[in-house]
Symmetry: C3
C-alpha cells in the first residue's frame, strides 16, 4: 500500500491545504463511510452533512464550499472536487502500475518471444513462440498468450486471460480477468447424416488502441480475415462477439450482450446489457439500444434510440406497451359495442 | 476414492442394516442406473419397481417401506431415506475435503501472505502480498488472489478463480471455477471528441458468510466503497454483478442474470435465469422474478411475483399474453361491427 | 509457421497448378485483403473482380473459372474451390496439431494419472490423481483436470479449461478456453429461517464423441447421475447447462443460451443465441428456436420452428407482432365505432 500526506496529495491535484499538512492516508473512501487513514471528497451538496461527521483524514472540497461547523480532517481545496478526486485515483493507479516490473518465477516464456521495456510477467503466465510485447506491458499470473500474438505498448492483461495464436492487440488496451480472445468461431457445415463438419477458423482477432474489455468476455477469431474491435471501444463483462464481427470506434457495450457472426456495429453506438444482434447485419453510427433488445435487421438511420424485440423506435415501443396493457379495456369496449349494435339492429 | 461398508454407512446416518454388513461401496448412484459397488436410496414410491431390479450394492430405504420381493442388495433402514442420503453426501464431501491439506509445488505465495491451519494451496496458485487466509481454506490450482485480499475460515476456491486486490471474503464461502471477483466496474465518462475517459475503480467487493458463487460469474469492484454480496446469498453460473450493486441476505439468483450498477436487491429475493436489472434501482424483500424478466424500475411492495419486460405482476402479465394471442379474433369482431354499423347507418 | 509451395498445396487438394509451382505461402487470407505470401480462393462470382487485384501469392479457383485478364498469382484449379479450401484448412490444422507433442515444464501430473501416446501437456496444467487420457490428447497451459476424469482419443483442451472430478469426455472432443465442466449444480433446499441448505452435487458430466464446446461455457455436474452432452453436439460460447440436463445428438446451440436443470433437449435441435429453457421440460427432435426465445413448456411435436417468450409457432408469433404494432389503429377504429353507435342510438 502506498502512503501520501496531505501536502503530497495537494501537489498532485494542485490544491490548497487547510489543516495538518502532514497527516497520512493509504486508502480511498466514500465520505459517508470513510475511516481514519482514508481520503475522501465532497462534490454533491446532498452529502454535505457527512462533511461534519466523517472520520476521513483528508477531504477534497470545492473552493466554493462554505463550512458551517469546524472540521477535524485536513481539507484540500480545489476548483472542482470531483474532477480532482478522479485525477488523484488515476495518478494513484499509474504509480502502482509503474511499481509492477519484472518476471515472476516460474513463468513460461518461449525462446523466440520478444519482451519490451518495463514489462511485468506474472507467475504461471505462458508466452508462446514468436510473441511480441511492446513496452510497459503487464501480464498477470495464469495468462496464456498464443503463437505469433502481437501486443502494443501500455497494455494490461489480467489473470486468466487467454489470447489465441495470431491475434493482434494495439496500444493502451486493458483486458480483464478470464476473457478469451481468438477462440474458434462457431462454424459447422451440416452433413447428409445430420452431423456437422467443422469449418476451420483460421483468421484472427484485431483489437485496436484504447480498448477496454471486461471479465469473462469472449471474442471469436474470424473464419478468414479478422474479427475487429476498433479504437476506443469499451466492452463490459460476459459479452460474446462472434467470428468476423466488427465493433466501430468508441462504441460502448454493456454486460452479457451478444453479437452474431459478420455483424458490423457502427461508431459511437451505445448498447445496453443482454442485447442480442442477429448475424450479417449492420448498425448505423450513434444508435442507442435499450437493455434486452433484440436486433434482427440492419439499422440504416443513424442516432436512433431503439428498444424491444424486434428492436423498434423507443417511443413507438413504449406506446405499444401501453396499448398492450390496456387490451382488457379495449376488449370490454368492443363487447359493449357489440351489445349496443345488437340492440340497435333489433330496433331497426 | 474413499470406500465404506454398509456398517460404516449405517453409523453415519444412524440406520439399521438388513443383509450383508460388510459389502463395500465407493460411489453414489440413482436407483434406476446404479451399478455394483454403488450406494443408492429409495424415497419416491414412483421408483419402487427399481428396488427389485437395481444393481446397487447398498440401498437406503424408509423404515416404512414394505418389500414385495426378496432383494439381493444390503438395505439400510432410516426414518427418512432422502434426508439420510443427503446427510451421507454431505459427510462424504467433508471427509474428502479434510483429506485435502498442504501446498502443492510450484505455487506462488508472496512472503507477506498469511496462511491459516488446515489450508490447501494447489499447484500454480498465485497468492499476492498481504493476503490473509483463515483456517481450512482450500485454494485449487491456477487461482489468483490479489494484494490485501482477506478470506475467512472454511472457504473453497475452485480452479481458475481470480480475486482482485482489496476484496474481502467471509466464512463458509464457496466460489466455483472461473469466477472473477473484483474486476473493474464499467465506468467511463464521455469526452467532447466522442471517446471515453476511464473512471478509476478503486473500491472493492465484499462477500459475506455462507455465500456460494457458481462458475464463470463476474462481480465488479465498486468505484468507491464496496459491491456487497450479503450473508447466505447463492449465485448461479455466468451472472454479472456490476459495480456498487448489493445483493441482500439469502437471495438466490439463477444463471446468466445481470445486475446493473448501484442496484440494490433485497433479502430473500428469488431471481430466475437471464433476468436483467437496470441500474440505480432497488428491489423489495421477498420479490420473485420469472426467468428472462427485465426490471426497469424500483419495486417497493415486498413479496410480489413479477414477470416480463418490463417486469409486471405475474397474473396481469399472463393475462396480457392471452389478450395478445386473441388479437386476430378481436380485430375480426371490430371488422364485423364496422360492417353492421355501416348497414345500420344506411338504414337510419 | 509452416510454409508450403504451390506444388505441395496442389497435392493436398488434388488440384492442377497454373503458373509458378515453387511460390511459397505461410498464411491464409480473404481474396479482397490477401497479401504476398498468403493463399486465398475464389468461389463466389461476386468476388471475381478481386481475382485481378489481389496480392495473394496462390489462389484456388474452380475448374470452370474463365479468366478475363492475366493474373500474376499462381492458380490451383479444382472442381470445387470452396470445398478444396476447407480441406486445406483442416489439413493445415492437423499438421500443426501433430507437431504439438510432449510435456512442457513445470506442469503438475499426479503419479497415478495415465497419459496416452502423442499427448501434449502444456505448462502449468494440473492433472489430478487417477486421470486417464487417451491418445493424441492436447492439454494446453493452465488447464485443470480433476480426480478420476477419463478422456478419450483426439481431444483438444484449450487454456484455462477446468474439468471437475469424475467427469467423462469421449473421443474427438474440443473444449475451448475458459469453459468449466462439472461445477456443482445449483441445488439448495430452503430452511425454516429463510436460509438455504446446500444439496451436495455428486454426479458428473458425460460428454460423448465428436462434441465441440466454445469458450467460457459452463456445464454443471448432476446431483446424482450425469449431465449428458450427446454425440456430435456443438455448443457455442457462454452457454449454461444446468445439472441433470441432457442435450441430444447433433444438436447445435448458439452463444449465451441457458438450459435449466433436468431439461432434455432432443436430437438435431437448432437453438439461437440467448435462448432460455425452463427446468424439467423436454424438447422434441428437430425443433428450431429463434434467438432470445424463452421455452417454458415441453415441446412434443418435432421439427417446429418457434420464437418469442413464451416460445410459440414462428408464423403465429410474427403475426402477433404485426397485430401489436397495429393496436393504435385498432383503438382508433373502436373509438370511431363508439361515436357512430352513439349517434345511431340518439337517432333511434
Amino acid at each position: 500500500m502506498l502512503a501520501f500526506n496531505a501536502q503530497q496529495v495537494a501537489l498532485m491535484i494542485q490544491g490548497k491545504v487547510e489543516g495538518d499538512a502532514t497527516v497520512e492516508v493509504t486508502q480511498f473512501g466514500k465520505i459517508e463511510e470513510a475511516k481514519q487513514g482514508e481520503i475522501s471528497f465532497l462534490a454533491n451538496p446532498k452529502y454535505e452533512e457527512f462533511l461534519y461527521s466523517t472520520k476521513a483524514s483528508i477531504i477534497i472540497i470545492n473552493d466554493s464550499q462554505v463550512l458551517k461547523e469546524k472540521i477535524s480532517a485536513t481539507l484540500i481545496r480545489v476548483p472542482d472536487a470531483y474532477a480532482a478526486f478522479a485525477t488523484l485515483l488515476t495518478k494513484y493507479q499509474e504509480l502502482k502500475a509503474a511499481n509492477m516490473v519484472g518476471i515472476q518465477t516460474p513463468s513460461f516464456i518461449a525462446p523466440s518471444a520478444k519482451l519490451g521495456a518495463q514489462n511485468f510477467i506474472g507467475a504461471f503466465a505462458a508466452i508462446s513462440e514468436n510473441v511480441q510485447l511492446g513496452e510497459n506491458v503487464k501480464v498477470y499470473p495464469n495468462v496464456f498468450i498464443g503463437e505469433n500474438v502481437q501486443i502494443g505498448n501500455n497494455v494490461t492483461i489480467h489473470p486468466g486471460v487467454v489470447i489465441y495464436f495470431d491475434c493482434k492487440i494495439g496500444n493502451n488496451v486493458t483486458i480483464h480477468a478470464g476473457s478469451i480472445i481468438g477462440s474458434d468461431g462457431f462454424g459447422f457445415a451440416p452433413k447428409a447424416d445430420g452431423s456437422f463438419q467443422k469449418v476451420p477458423q483460421l483468421g484472427n482477432v484485431v483489437i485496436e488502441d484504447d480498448v477496454e474489455i471486461g471479465s469473462n468476455t469472449t471474442i471469436d477469431r474470424a473464419t478468414i480475415g479478422s474479427t475487429i474491435i476498433r479504437k476506443g471501444v469499451k466492452l463490459d463483462n460476459l459479452i460474446q462477439v462472434a467470428h468476423n464481427a466488427e465493433v466501430g470506434n468508441n462504441t460502448v457495450i454493456a454486460a452479457q450482450t451478444g453479437i452474431s457472426g459478420s455483424t458490423k456495429i457502427g461508431k459511437n453506438v451505445m448498447v445496453g446489457g443482454q442485447v442480442g444482434f442477429a448475424g450479417h447485419i449492420s448498425i448505423a453510427d450513434g444508435t442507442k439500444l435499450a437493455a434486452q433488445s433484440g436486433v434482427t435487421k440492419t439499422i440504416k438511420t443513424p442516432n436512433q434510440t431503439l428498444t424491444g424485440h424486434p428492436a423498434a423506435d423507443h417511443t413507438t415501443a413504449l406506446r405499444s406497451q401501453v396499448y398492450v396493457k390496456n387490451l382488457p379495456e379495449l376488449e370490454k369496449r368492443v363487447k359493449e359495442l357489440e351489445i349496443l349494435v345488437q340492440q340497435l339492429s333489433k330496433k331497426g
